[in-house]
Symmetry: C2
Subunit: 403 residues, 2 copies
């Protein structure tokens, strides 16, 4: 056992010798041994070894095909933190994310082996409104960066709202997500407190839109990376705020599903509520999921085939500018005492301009959407997503602090 | 849109016509349309389409290679339930599990499409001590079926303890687990209340033992299906209780990990605490994970290479009869306010005889295990796992109620 002789013997003695408790404490601060920068991914396991690029014009986790697991974490800056602290946090997260996403341990990673399965890990960082106040940069805050206006359908619980900083951590393995969340959180724990943690999951099958826990194909109408409109709808062009070029915004809504009453609705009632078939998500005027819904079609009795109150009729963009990227996850937490389910949707929408793209759709849905009977927004937060880190040596959000 | 004419028109009218609210309620009770018994699995997606057999001498979910996701649900019988109610629950669960595990919707499944991805779903049913009292069958209760004795290390929270009935639901997709848990729970909701829900996950890589959230390879010492000892250690032979032939027991311990203080221990300290290397889980006296630890080896200074207080030294069975099947999962829930992590292990142990196999090991660990500083049992439950259902027409636990 040559590897644990030498200084190790002292360590062993201190932990397990006669004066175990006192000497054990002396072991603190010797520092964790990391695996260094070696690529340690498990190349025999393609899912575990797969990586998504970290550096680029945009942050990862937006164009990236959504992995099976996600965690969204909202943080509050602790009292007394300042501009330099925010920069420090962003530098640490940049370094951590650059390593972890490539299957390498973070600096001083105390569980370096848990970094060996990146499993398409992405880390996406967002800033809340207060960052601009604390950092003394109110003039650089996008006008849409503020809590959404209240909607009648909202039953927001403060525990799920807002936040000064946000991490979206996604991967195809839950352990990978847990390790990354732990590393990213603890390395800045002296500067921030955790406001909320929201974990979600989705099925991933090639060419298939996943289903939510109401059983619906969810997310059919979406904008796909590589399409002509994607860049225009998602990525900021820097016109209002040059620092934000290549960035975007995230609206995260926690939408509870009342499955007990949803269960009371029969299959056709459900399809008319949504405007799509349950079997394959085709609009009620079509035969395939991706068919364009015909909101003008009526049946022999003159009744709209897709009810005007249906979810897809209300959610449908009235102009091409109202579209946004949906990248949602199901959630299913332990139910509170006396209840059978605690399930719903982490609705994550990315768009260049919250006011111009997201809000009009949300306002129509809030005003009337047949689905509202069974879905309730219980959390709401808006973040600006800074552009990506173009090269090593730079950090997330640097363009903001240099502007 | 031929499929929604006919009776559907009435339904549509009732939901979306002038008297929407009142007529909508009339739609309740028309019953959900199911997909019937057609095999609807997605054969283009091998992970999603994979199934584990339901019928057999033993329940599935024990010998079955552990999938990536698990949920354990503890239920209490509602006041006033009796023997017939318990039989009713077990019949419903048998029918639900026989269908869902094979990729078919449950009877009157309101989200039949969510059954299309069985993803190696297994459903394992356990009975708590009170079932034998309520059913008037105290003479058939195994002697070991009772709460574990208290241990000094325990900080049990009643919310995670005990239960009258237990479901273990495992699959390789989280949505599949959620759907199955929902179906199984709601179909018996009038007879039981949910006591606790514990969700977990683990990596699955061929030939690799997964790691826990402390970073350790966890579960090396285990008994594998197909080995000569497995049947003798896990499956009841019916000697004490003929009805239990082919059954077993489950001990479920919820073990919280104090990662904040674990972080303060350096790498060698951690290895000495566990008795294994972090890199590959080899015992400190060996070079490969599966090497047999040599608890007698000493270094040049006469100090044990594997400390006597280390986890593997304390956990090691002192006789072959003390072994059991470990089938644990990591958990990582949202932390309570002010904390950074809420993580740990759902330690699930299957054995023929809790008193003879599990208890001696647990007693040694509780008396002293170097790991106890960073791990705390906060939940504990024991269940008897009835034998499997050998053929259609029979139900889980039938041998008990016929004996």
């Amino acid at each position: 056992m040559a590897e644990s002789s030498g200084t190790g013997r002292l360590n062993r003695r201190s932990l397990f010798g006669g004066a175990a408790a006192a000497a054990g404490a002396a072991g603190i601060g010797w520092g964790a041994v990391t695996l260094g920068d070696r690529q340690t991914g498990d190349s025999n396991d393609p899912t575990a070894a797969a990586t998504e690029p970290f550096y680029g014009e945009h942050q990862a986790g937006i164009e990236t095909a959504p992995p099976t697991h996600a965690a969204f974490i909202g943080f509050d800056l602790r009292p007394g933190t300042d501009r330099d602290d925010i920069i420090g946090i962003l530098k640490i997260w940049t370094d951590d994310a650059a390593r972890l996403t490539q299957g390498r341990p973070a600096l001083a990673d105390t569980e370096p082996e848990l970094a060996q399965r990146p499993a398409r890990l992405t880390v996406t960082v967002g800033l809340g409104p207060r960052v601009f106040t604390v950092a003394g940069l109110p003039q650089h805050r996008p006008s849409w960066l503020r809590p959404l206006p209240p909607f009648d359908i909202d039953r927001l619980e403060p525990a799920w709202n807002d936040g000064d900083l946000m991490l979206q951590v996604c991967a195809d393995e839950a352990t990978t997500v847990s390790h990354a969340v732990r590393v990213l959180g603890k390395n800045v724990a002296s500067l921030v407190s955790v406001r909320w943690v929201q974990r979600g999951f989705r099925n991933v099958a090639p060419g298939q839109t996943p289903r939510n826990l109401m059983g619906q194909v969810d997310g059919t109408v979406n904008i796909a990376p590589g399409t002509p409109d994607f860049a225009e709808l998602v990525w900021d062009d820097g016109r209002a705020h040059p620092w934000l070029t290549g960035g975007t915004s995230l609206v995260l809504r926690r939408i509870a599903m009342t499955l007990d009453t949803w269960d009371e609705i029969d299959r056709e009632g459900r399809e008319l509520t949504v405007g799509r078939t349950l079997a394959d998500g085709a609009p009620l005027t079509g035969s395939r999921e991706l068919d364009e819904p015909d909101f003008t079609a009526v049946d022999a009795h003159g009744i709209a085939v897709i009810p005007q109150s249906s979810h897809i009729a209300r959610a449908h963009h009235t102009s091409d500018r109202e579209r946004f990227l949906r990248r949602g996850y199901n959630y299913d937490d332990a139910p509170p005492p006396g209840q059978t389910s605690n399930s719903g949707l982490l609705f994550a929408a990315f768009q260049r301009d919250v006011d111009a793209q997201y809000l009009p759709v949300q306002q129509r849905l809030a005003a009337f959407d047949a689905l509202n009977v069974w879905t309730t927004p219980i959390g709401s937060a808006v973040f600006v997503i800074p552009p990506g880190v173009r090269s090593p040596g730079r950090y997330l959000g640097q363009t903001l602090f240099e502007s």
